[in-house]
């Protein structure tokens, strides 16, 4: 239902104050809540005297819009006498919709848990007898003073109340019976006999008995609440201390060690903690020496618990033959490991509150390594980002510091060449050398900067729909000074669609290939650029009719700082041009390969995957008269 409404939901369990629910029911509630959690609910346990009021209060604070409540069958007379929780909810819900679901009568066989046998309480009984005896002595003395019988009854009543408060229900009943007997025999006429003259004494006896029982019941309830409160406090404190301790630690070994020791102290048994190893199998990180970890069945049990993210082992229905109770350590990203707890007997483990507490410990422990790992990961990411920052700052400052003098040299030399036509001969040649070399040095620098940027992954291609013809044209325009003596022919398939690339980067790749071709071939050698559609790919080839590649270097030429040996001018490149081409193609999901041409010369082929949803502009479109 929540899934259909796409709404968050909360499963609520209300514990009535003062009513100690039986362990079986408690376990059932725990199971239900766990199921709800698995189904995506947030689970909450509330305490209050009035179930419906508590639920509605909680619902209002959360702005809940719908309440679903299960209705179980109850006899008609009961319904007439007491309003059920459901009816209460319906009466007071106000704006909140209440949905009632018919609950099924449960015939579930819950394992009856053996109650811990009560200690022999003869000591309490003796003490109770003592109190009654003391009361009798006091009463005898008062009787001698002719104090009214009603007040003597009070003495006994006080004794019963004291016994009830101090020693509990059983001794209280014994005390009230004894008091009634003593009062009857010694104080009510006829004395020293069980017979009673006046029937009103029967009433006195009844009241004495009733008060004794009432006080002892109330005291017992108070006592149990106090005990459970104290226990809860102790466990909460222990959990809090565990959380605090884990919060201050780092490293799996230390975290697991601290948690293990903590749980062991609280439980008083053996504890082993497994964490998932690199191979996915659990590795005992705490309590390796304990008998749990040494038991051959423990490893597989831990593994089962870890992979199924469910509690198992001793005291449960799954793998009950294991030596300990195994609780999964489930982090938000999946299981991290398991915690095994072994104690004498199964009673302790069967107690739902203990189990809940152990589960809380397990979840505390599960969070800790996760937090630890995240901290480490965040630290790593920060270091990486800082390194990246330093790198890019360095790059841009190097780029600026080197380029400025270069720009000045290039500018000054070109200024001299342009403004002083009087300079001729050798001087002009030298000036031209200065100018050309400054430009070459600048290109080299740009190549180095470009490859470092591509290497660092700092380049995100600005992909747009481009015409190949356009990019080839701008690459040719940019290289026109370097390839004056190399005629270029361009043939692009008329069916060439728009290509989805970073125009600047593809232009850069073509510029590098063109400069490469111009550098490694003698003047006058023609260069050919061919663009074709090949299935789902676009191929762009840049071919020259020069001396070609040295056989066996077809892959090597793309290596950084590799310089071809052929050609007199071969050493003048940066050795980075083709490496940059490859990096650019890689960024586009394409490839670049080199071939020796059949008729001599080198050919470089770029293959780019054709993008989906190409806008419907074909080169064909232009061929038709407009």
């Amino acid at each position: 239902m929540a899934a259909a409404l796409d709404a968050p939901w909360v499963a609520v369990c209300v514990e009535k104050t003062g009513i100690a629910s039986d362990p079986a029911a408690k376990q059932r509630v725990v199971d239900h809540l766990r199921l709800a959690e698995r189904l995506g609910a947030e689970t909450v346990t509330l305490t209050g005297t009035d179930v419906s009021e508590t639920i509605l209060d909680f619902a209002r604070t959360l702005n809940v819009t719908k309440i679903f409540v299960g209705k179980t069958h109850s006899p008609r007379w009961r319904r007439v006498l007491w309003k059920s929780v459901v009816e209460d909810l319906l009466d007071n819900s106000g704006e909140i919709d209440v949905y009632v679901i018919q609950g099924q009568e449960e015939h579930r066989q819950t394992e009856v848990m053996p109650r811990p046998a009560r200690r022999v309480q003869w000591r309490d009984s003796v003490a109770a007898g003592g109190v009654v005896a003391a009361a009798s002595l006091l009463a005898t003395w008062l009787h001698g003073l002719h104090v009214a019988e009603a007040n003597i009854v009070m003495i006994f009543l006080a004794a019963v109340a004291f016994v009830a408060f101090q020693f509990g229900r059983g001794p209280a009943i014994q005390a009230s019976l004894a008091s009634v007997l003593i009062f009857d025999v010694f104080f009510v006429p006829p004395q020293f006999s069980l017979t009673v003259n006046d029937t009103q004494y029967l009433f006195t006896f009844a009241v004495m008995l009733a008060i004794g029982m009432l006080i002892s019941t109330l005291t017992a309830r108070l006592q149990s609440q106090l005990d459970s409160g104290r226990q809860r406090e102790r466990r909460t404190l222990a959990l809090y201390r565990l959380g605090k301790q884990l919060g201050g630690l780092a490293g799996d070994i230390f975290l697991v060690g601290a948690a293990g020791q903590h749980v062991r102290e609280m439980v008083g048994g053996e504890v082993a903690i497994y964490l998932e190893g690199d191979d996915g199998l659990p590795v005992a990180m705490f309590g390796e020496e304990a008998s749990i970890a040494k038991h051959p069945r423990s490893g597989p049990t831990a593994h089962w618990v870890m992979t199924h993210d469910r509690i198992a082992g001793r005291g449960t229905d799954t793998l009950p033959s294991a030596v300990a109770l195994f609780i999964p350590l489930s982090g938000s990203q999946g299981p991290l490991g398991a915690m095994a707890v072994g104690v004498e007997g199964t009673d302790w483990l069967l107690h739902p509150e203990h189990r809940q507490w152990l589960e809380s410990c397990a979840s505390q422990l599960a969070i800790a390594p996760e937090r630890d790992r995240m901290t480490v990961a965040a630290g790593d990411a920060r270091v990486k980002a800082e390194a990246e920052q330093v790198r890019s700052t360095l790059l841009s400052s190097v780029s600026h510091d080197l380029k400025t003098p270069l720009a000045a040299i290039a500018g000054a030399s070109s200024s001299l060449l342009q403004c002083t036509p009087a300079i001729e001969g050798t001087s002009r040649e030298l000036l031209e050398t200065i100018s050309e070399e400054a430009h070459r040095l600048n290109r080299l620098l740009e190549n180095i900067l470009q490859i470092s940027r591509l290497d660092s992954g700092a380049v995100t291609p600005n992909t747009q729909w481009h015409l190949l013809e356009d990019i080839v044209g701008s690459a040719l325009h940019r290289t026109k000074d370097n390839r004056e003596h190399h005629p270029v022919t361009v043939r692009i398939d008329p069916a060439m669609p728009l290509i989805f690339v970073d125009g600047l980067l593809l232009e850069q790749a073509l510029v590098n290939l063109l400069e490469n071709a111009a550098r490694h071939t003698p003047a006058g050698t023609p260069i050919e650029i061919v663009g074709k559609v090949d299935g789902r790919e676009v191929t762009i080839s840049v071919a020259d009719a020069g001396p070609g590649l040295v056989p066996g270097t077809e892959e090597k030429v793309f290596d950084r700082y590799y310089r071809g040996t052929a050609g007199a001018d071969a050493g003048r490149g940066s050795g980075l041009g083709l490496a940059i081409c490859r990096a650019i193609m890689h960024l586009h999901g394409g490839t670049i390969t080199a071939f020796a041409r059949a008729g001599g010369g080198a050919e470089f082929v770029i293959r780019l995957p054709l993008a989906e949803n190409t806008p419907p502009f074909l080169m064909d479109h232009f061929a038709q008269p407009a």
């Binding site: 000045a408 040299i409 500018g411 403004c419 325009h477």
Partner: protein, 230 residues
């Protein structure tokens, strides 16, 4: 050397660059004022308005972009931008913020002087426009809306004509994609750059001899287009 008496304001923090620019400009008959920071440049421009500003984008303190924006609040004369190759984004921003053209460092003096001439010519021809523009073999008659190449009439669609007229009126000047889209298609659709690319390609087919090696309609990759000045 033409004696043209134009006052050029140079806003550049690097002494060596300033020095060769100054020498070049003075040789070519320009008067030169120099500023090393953006603030000083703005002050000097207000004191004695120059005919042209050469502005380095990478200034310390007040950034070149900010100087440009502040300058353009009142300054109508041309502004040339100096930038590095890897600053395409800044170039486009500067051009869209009112810069007239840009030069990528390192640049030759010939290139600089050509850009300055183009910018100054456009600044001075505002309002008085020739009815016929001719660049190389391409001729456009704005009055009769006729286009020809080497005397051969060329048939253009109205949109292509509009685009060509815009290019030729601004010959020699870089025009950003954004500017062209806005001028030809209107204020919307300033992101659909590929329409523009396709139209430019069609236009090239009609006016260029080899559209893959254009002579007139040049692509400034990543920035826009430039129609050759001569």
């Amino acid at each position: 050397m033409p004696a043209n008496d134009h006052l050029v304001l140079l806003i550049e923090d690097e002494e060596p660059i300033r020095r060769f620019l100054r020498a070049t400009l003075v040789t070519h008959g320009y008067r030169v004022a120099e500023a090393t920071t953006g603030e000083a440049g703005l002050r000097m421009a207000a004191d004695q308005p120059p005919d042209l500003v050469i502005l380095d984008l990478g200034l310390p303190g007040l950034d070149g972009q900010d100087v440009l924006r502040r300058l353009r609040e009142w300054f109508r004369h041309p502004v040339l931008i100096l930038s590095a190759r890897d600053q395409e984004k800044q170039k486009i921003d500067a051009l869209d913020a009112g810069a007239d053209d840009y030069l990528t460092k390192p640049f030759g003096v010939g290139e600089l002087l050509a850009r300055m001439r183009t910018a100054l010519r456009h600044a001075h021809s505002k309002g008085v426009e020739a009815a016929v523009l001719a660049i190389g073999e391409v001729r456009i008659d704005l009055a009769s809306r006729l286009v020809s190449r080497g005397g051969e009439p060329i048939h253009l669609t109205p949109l292509e004509y509009k685009l060509l007229a815009l290019f030729m009126r601004n010959a020699g000047k870089v025009l950003t994609h954004r500017f062209l889209l806005r001028e030809v298609w209107g204020p919307h659709d300033t992101h659909e750059t590929h329409y523009l690319r396709v139209f430019v390609a069609t236009l090239r087919r009609k006016i260029e001899l080899d559209p893959a090696q254009p002579r007139y309609l040049l692509t400034e990759q990543g920035v826009g287009y430039r129609f050759a000045a001569e």
